[in-house]
């Protein structure tokens, strides 16, 4: 494994970790974007250019901003007093650890049957476009509907009701 991979992985995991542990919510969001950037780099390292840039565009360009907006709209930007961890955080940690243990175990168990180095696959945007418009057109359409519904739903949910305004 190349040192680049380790660097990027470290960046990703570090970003994720900080995003989870920091006290200040905005810092968490920014760390999250770091994690996203790292992921995008990982994707690029896996020769998935399209996915990588889509990752940047969607997550850093949209989701992160969205999170930040939400934070500011919910007055969460200033550092809270008292514990930021919920009452049952210990058991949560345990559960997470268990999950990681099992996943890691599974990966190592199956390590020998995983395929080794493969030739770099040719996946240029054209192929992806053809696949999207061809084999995967139905999922694409459904996804479009889903996104529309989600957008409208989000707007309606976050909308100020005039009744309780009065």
């Amino acid at each position: 494994m190349s040192p680049v991979f380790y660097l990027v992985a470290a960046l990703t995991l570090g970003g994720a970790l900080t995003a989870v542990v920091l006290k200040n919510t905005v810092h968490c969001a920014l760390a999250l974007t770091a994690a996203f950037a790292g992921l995008a780099l990982l994707f690029l390292g896996l020769d998935a250019q399209f996915a990588g840039f889509a990752q940047i565009l969607v997550y850093i360009g949209a989701v992160a901003i969205l999170v930040v907006f939400a934070i500011l709209l919910t007055r969460g930007s200033e550092t809270p007093q008292g514990s930021v961890y919920s009452r049952y955080s210990i058991s949560g940690l345990v559960a997470a650890a268990a999950v990681f243990a099992v996943l890691g175990w599974a990966v190592l168990q199956s390590a020998h049957m995983l395929p080794n180095e493969q030739a770099v696959p040719m996946a240029d945007v054209h192929d992806i476009g053809v696949a999207l418009m061809g084999r995967y057109v139905l999922p694409l359409e459904i996804l479009a509907v889903l996104l529309t519904a989600a957008t409208i739903g989000a707007v309606i949910v976050a909308l100020h009701e005039k009744e309780d305004a009065k």
């Binding site: 905005v26 810092h27 920014l30 974007t33 950037a37 995008a40 250019q49 399209f50 840039f53 889509a54 940047i56 565009l57 850093i60 360009g61 949209a62 992160a64 901003i65 930040v68 907006f69 500011l72 930007s77 240029d124 945007v125 054209h126």
Partner: protein, 395 residues
């Protein structure tokens, strides 16, 4: 003889690079080549920036019936140098309550992200840093990450004006980024590729003496107009410069910045302007291709940069001419007029794509677009009501 001369002149930078690189051992040539080109870009555009500032100030002066800077150097041409020295030597103030790390990172992220955008712009025949397969996507990814920098700047400096400015900027950029993307998607639909070089190549053909620029098609024209609007908003230029509206919130998200960091923001803004104009001319104005077939002997990079400067001039012109919008007007304009029209334009583009050659598609598409524009303009006009307003102060 003349042709070869022209061709060499056209490729002069490439040749120059290869010549310079050729002194190095073969192993490090590619790397060195890239480094060289990066260095060129990094050196070139700030220079252009400096040129543009004086250009803008003088132009605005003319428009506002002033002379503009004329003290430093001949005709004040050295003004930018003086400015640079000033901003470098000024003290770098960081507010006490500011969030130092983020406050420091913001301008860097901004400038870096903006510089990344230039990596995929073909500035001439064969003159592109990385000929990526999904260059356009890359460009927009980079453009998207500038918003974050803006937010970091505004939030970290603990100042309500900055925060407001940042929020405005981010909201505006997100809203208009959608339009920017969709209007470019039209081009992608026609070219069938996200690669900018392919897009330019597709426009570098001629019928008679006239080029196949996309702006000369109905959907292309509409798309370009939409793109121009969105670009102006994306770069926070007047009339969309609310985020740094001096009259309302002192200077927006970089109120708390001074000295070099401020200069970086300034630089970033102009670089964004350059790159977005570059992209615009690449998408719609045929990039580095010549406007007439008999002018092809003129080097391609000259065309690219002249188009770039032309659009910069338009930017300045608009700044000198148009008043600033109100926030709600801005948003309504984005979501209720520009976006729907762009989407409609997408459909028209699809129609164009599938109607096949012939005069018919010209008529149909133009008619459709004209009708759509008329209707939507009328509708939005009905929503606005233009009677003389009386402003009340002090309440």
């Amino acid at each position: 003889m003349f042709d070869t001369l022209a061709r060499n002149f056209d490729q002069i930078f490439i040749l120059l690079r290869d010549w310079l690189v050729s002194f190095l051992p073969a192993g490090m040539r590619p790397v060195a080549g890239i480094v060289l080109s990066v260095a060129t870009i990094v050196a070139l555009f700030p220079g252009l920036f400096a040129l543009t500032t004086i250009f803008e100030r003088k132009g605005l002066g003319r428009i506002q019936n002033r002379i503009g800077p004329n003290r430093v150097g001949p005709f004040g041409l050295l003004q930018p140098v003086a400015d640079g020295i000033k901003s470098l030597t000024k003290e770098d103030i960081v507010p006490v309550s500011a969030n130092a790390a983020i406050h420091f990172l913001a301008p860097l992220v901004l400038v870096v992200a903006v510089f990344m955008g230039f990596a995929v712009l073909p500035m001439g025949r064969n003159m592109v840093l990385v000929d990526m397969d999904c260059a356009l996507l890359f460009y927009f990814a980079m453009g998207a990450s500038t918003e974050l920098a803006v937010f970091m700047a505004g939030w970290s400096s603990r100042n309500k004006y900055s925060l407001l400015g940042a929020m405005r900027a981010v909201a505006q950029m997100i809203s208009y980024e959608v339009v920017l993307l969709l209007s470019s998607v039209a081009v992608v639909m026609i070219t069938g590729s996200l690669s900018l070089t392919k897009i330019v190549a597709a426009q570098d053909q001629y019928t008679g003496i006239f080029p196949h620029w996309y702006i000369f098609t109905p959907w292309g024209l509409a798309g370009f107009v939409m793109y121009a609007i969105a670009a102006t908003a994306e770069t926070n230029r007047s009339p969309f410069d609310l985020p740094e509206g001096e009259s309302e919130l002192v200077a927006g998200y970089h109120t708390e910045y001074s000295g070099f960091k401020f200069a970086l923001f300034f630089l970033g803004e102009y670089l964004a302007m350059f790159s977005i104009s570059g992209l615009g001319s690449t998408l719609f104005l045929g990039g580095w291709s010549a406007p007439f077939s008999f002018l092809q002997w003129v080097p391609s990079w000259i065309w690219f940069f002249s188009k770039l400067m032309l659009s910069i001039f338009v930017f300045i012109w608009m700044r000198g001419t148009l008043p600033r919008l109100r926030q709600d007007q801005l948003m309504n304009f984005a979501w209720k007029f520009v976006l729907p029209f762009t989407i409609f334009n997408l459909m028209v583009t699809a129609l164009w794509r599938f109607m096949g050659e012939g005069w018919l598609r010209w008529v149909v598409c133009s008619a459709l677009l004209a009708a759509a524009y008329g209707i939507m303009a009328r509708v939005s006009m009905r929503r606005e009501h233009f009677e003389p307003r009386s402003y009340r102060y002090a309440e």
